[in-house]
């Protein structure tokens, strides 16, 4: 088996953890992004042949370690775009541009669209669809979209493309992207037909690995904050953590984090391969999100009044996780799809 991290992977985790610890909560500006590119981390999700250094595991490690900060949500759309490009256009000039931090890209798969889905009109030669609450999309200059039989890249300036940004539930910028009969003549078709299927699978596995890794990073941080708080906070003349009722709650949170870690690893392994069995990936996203939400609710409860305070990680974590749960392609949506498909 290959489940224990290699020495390189452990070192990568440590250096990302140090990097994010030095910049607590802070927004990611252009200089930080260049620094990250300089460290090579944008190449974590793709192989050496296209100038990267990793695959699903390495990508998941970076996201997990950045998971409690604003960085994760900016990395994910770029990783997703790179994974698609690596499959369908390894020579594409976007790859080095994204990895060098010169171009901000946003990868898209059909589940990220609203229920109407993404449609290609093959007679009129147009593509339509609506994506909501996208992260890292307000400044993206390229959208890389993979559909069951077509992969394409488009820029926001094209006819029929509209973007609207607003403040999201997680207190960060979110963007709705509407493609209204966008002429295929104005987009770059990266690949068409049978071969795209593998890219879609790869993208789906990559997205599952990314979301579960973020859940893992976030839940782990919330758990650790709560553990530390309960060791230090005293009521009734002793640390709250000395009450058995509280200990059991922490033990359950710990178990939840362990399981999220497992689901994240399973997804990352899937993202390393050719792309895999779709229902299990959906279940990994659902399972990781549910468990992380449990951890976030418990973190608030066990902090008492402090847990209700804005500007602390507990409330922010709950808001971020609710967003991951409720976005198209998130846990809630996938759960309904699984039930609908088996009905």
């Amino acid at each position: 088996m290959k489940l224990t991290p290699t020495e390189e992977q452990t070192m990568l985790a440590d250096s990302v953890a140090r990097f994010t610890a030095d910049r607590p909560g802070g927004a990611v500006d252009a200089a930080t992004w260049r620094e990250i590119a300089g460290l090579g981390w944008l190449g974590a999700g793709v192989g050496e042949a296209v100038g990267g250094f990793g695959g699903g595991r390495e990508m998941a490690i970076v996201i997990e370690q950045a998971g409690a900060s604003a960085l994760a949500e900016l990395l994910i759309p770029n990783y997703l775009a790179l994974a698609i490009l690596e499959e369908v256009g390894p020579e594409n000039a976007l790859i080095p541009d994204i990895m060098d931090g010169k171009t901000l890209a946003c990868g898209l798969v059909p589940e990220m669209a609203t229920a109407e889905g993404v449609t290609v009109d093959s007679t009129a030669r147009t593509v339509s669809g609506r994506f909501v609450a996208l992260q890292g999309a307000s400044e993206a200059t390229h959208f890389v979209l993979v559909l069951p039989d077509m992969a394409l890249a488009l820029t926001p300036g094209v006819t029929g493309v509209e973007r609207q940004s607003y403040r999201g539930l997680d207190d960060r910028t979110k963007t709705d992207l509407t493609l209204q009969r966008v002429p295929l003549a104005q987009v770059e078709i990266l690949a068409e037909g049978e071969i795209v299927r593998a890219a879609l699978n790869r993208a789906r596995a990559t997205r599952a690995a990314a979301v579960t890794a973020e859940c893992c990073g976030l839940a782990d941080a919330l758990f650790n904050d709560t553990l530390a708080y309960l060791k230090q906070r005293r009521q009734f003349g002793q640390p709250i953590g000395s009450f058995q009722a509280v200990q059991h709650r922490l033990a359950d949170m710990f178990v939840a984090v362990e399981e999220i870690r497992s689901l994240a690893l399973a997804s990352a392994r899937a993202a390393e391969g050719e792309g895999e069995d779709h229902p299990a990936l959906s279940q990994a996203i659902i399972g990781a999100t549910d468990r992380a939400l449990h951890v976030a609710r418990e973190a608030i409860q066990l902090h008492g009044g402090v847990g209700m305070t804005e500007d602390l990680p507990m409330g922010a974590g709950l808001r971020r996780l609710k967003l991951l749960q409720l976005m198209p392609g998130g846990a809630e949506d996938l759960r309904r799809r699984i039930i609908a498909n088996s009905a």
């Binding site: 607003y166 009734f236 609710r297 608030i300 008492g304 209700m308 500007d311």
Partner: protein, 394 residues
């Protein structure tokens, strides 16, 4: 299912229902139904309407301006008004300090403070919790040192709901630091305009401002503002907590929230989705069980039983049931829950209701509803009480 209400109770229910229908201002109802935050004015306007009707302190004895309502009338009043979309009747004056004053206060204190509560002119807040004394309230450290006819108060209270709107605070303070924690506490009424009082806002996770920290820096409080005996404040505080907990299962509100949940699910075409129906039915069952648990306890109280561990049962389930409804309602919004901007909500609070504001209101309520399992004796503390006092464990 019929609980066997008396004819008087049924008549009273009709009265409350039609009064609320005719008198609750539409804009206030609109805000409540959409979960948008209420301002001080919204609360005060509705409470003025109740005060004019003589219903603000209905359960108080008539001699102090109440209507001598029975426990079942209080229950009916709360159920009917909240179901209809009335704001939460702020409990600090009416339910908390008022009964303490008419039970333990001097004639002068009653004459000075009760009329302002009944007329809704004086806004009270509750100063119990401190940074280092929450669940273990008895270890509070805000101190009051005697200086002639005054106490000099120093320290701070935290999580003080609506202190920034309040005129007065009732506070537990330490008057004897040598005694055992519970025996060195006194109960003071403090005018918030006194020199040395500072109120600082704390924003909560839904981005709204209702919480505060209140600082006391050499604040002079006349000794005549002490309730009852010096160092006996814990007794009065516990009496008050008893009142706080009886109210904690808000059946009318739970039903109102279920109405909204059904409406939102309907809008989204979920009303025939088996997955949704399963979840909805579980929540409806929770409310049914809570309602009948409340009714059983109400009947026992009407028969003269003192509310004991039942209050903990109601607090525990009242808070978690409403919390679950609030969260699942947001879940039903799906991606429409993802636009959330507390500043927008605040800025547009007096605009006519829109779907966007309603959706944000639902999210705001989901976040805020994490609080009831923490406040008023946290649910962990309630479980400890049940285990210890009802089950004889430990």
């Amino acid at each position: 299912m019929d609980a066997g209400w008396s004819q008087e109770d049924m008549t009273f229910r009709e009265q409350v229902r039609s009064f609320t229908r005719d008198n609750l201002p539409a804009d206030i109802r609109g805000k409540v139904m959409t979960g948008r935050p209420l301002g001080r004015d919204d609360h005060m306007r509705w409470q003025d309407i109740l005060a004019a009707k003589g219903w603000i302190a209905g359960f108080w004895p008539e001699e102090y301006g109440g209507c001598d309502w029975t426990a079942s009338q209080s229950y009916i009043f709360q159920e009917e008004t909240s179901r209809a979309g009335a704001p939460w009747l702020l409990p600090f004056g009416v339910n908390y300090v008022g009964p303490v004053i008419y039970t333990y206060g001097t004639e002068a204190q009653k004459a000075r403070h009760l009329p302002g509560i009944v007329s809704n002119e004086v806004f009270w807040c509750q100063g119990y919790s401190e940074p280092n004394a929450g669940s273990d309230l008895a270890r509070l450290s805000t101190r009051a040192d005697r200086d002639g006819d005054d106490y000099i108060v120093n320290g701070s209270k935290i999580w003080t709901s609506m202190a920034h709107w309040a005129d007065w605070i009732f506070a537990l303070v330490r008057t004897d630091s040598a005694a055992k924690p519970q025996t060195g506490i006194s109960f003071l009424l403090i005018d918030l305009t006194s020199p040395g009082v500072t109120v600082k806002p704390i924003r909560s996770i839904e981005g709204a401002h209702h919480l505060n920290q209140v600082f006391f820096d050499d604040v002079r409080v006349p000794v005549e503002n002490r309730i009852g005996e010096e160092n006996a404040g814990w007794t009065y505080a516990k009496f008050l907590l008893g009142h706080e907990r009886v109210l904690s299962a808000e059946i009318g509100k739970a039903k109102r929230m279920l109405d909204r949940l059904r409406q939102i699910a309907g809008e989204r075409g979920l009303d025939s989705d088996p997955f949704h129906l399963d979840r909805l039915s579980r929540l409806e069952t929770d409310v049914l069980a809570l309602e009948w648990t409340t009714l059983r306890m109400l009947d026992a109280v009407m028969g003269g039983a003192a509310p004991g561990v039942e209050a903990s049962v109601l607090k525990l389930r009242g808070s978690t049931v409403i919390q679950s409804i609030a969260e699942y309602t947001a879940d039903c919004l799906g991606p429409d829950a993802l636009k959330f901007d507390p500043e927008f909500l605040e800025r547009t609070v007096n605009d006519p209701p829109s779907e966007l504001a309603r959706n944000m209101g639902v999210v705001s309520e989901m976040l805020f509803q994490r609080a009831p399992t923490i406040w008023g004796g946290s649910n962990e503390i309630q479980r400890n009480i049940i285990a210890k006092h009802a089950l004889g464990l430990g």
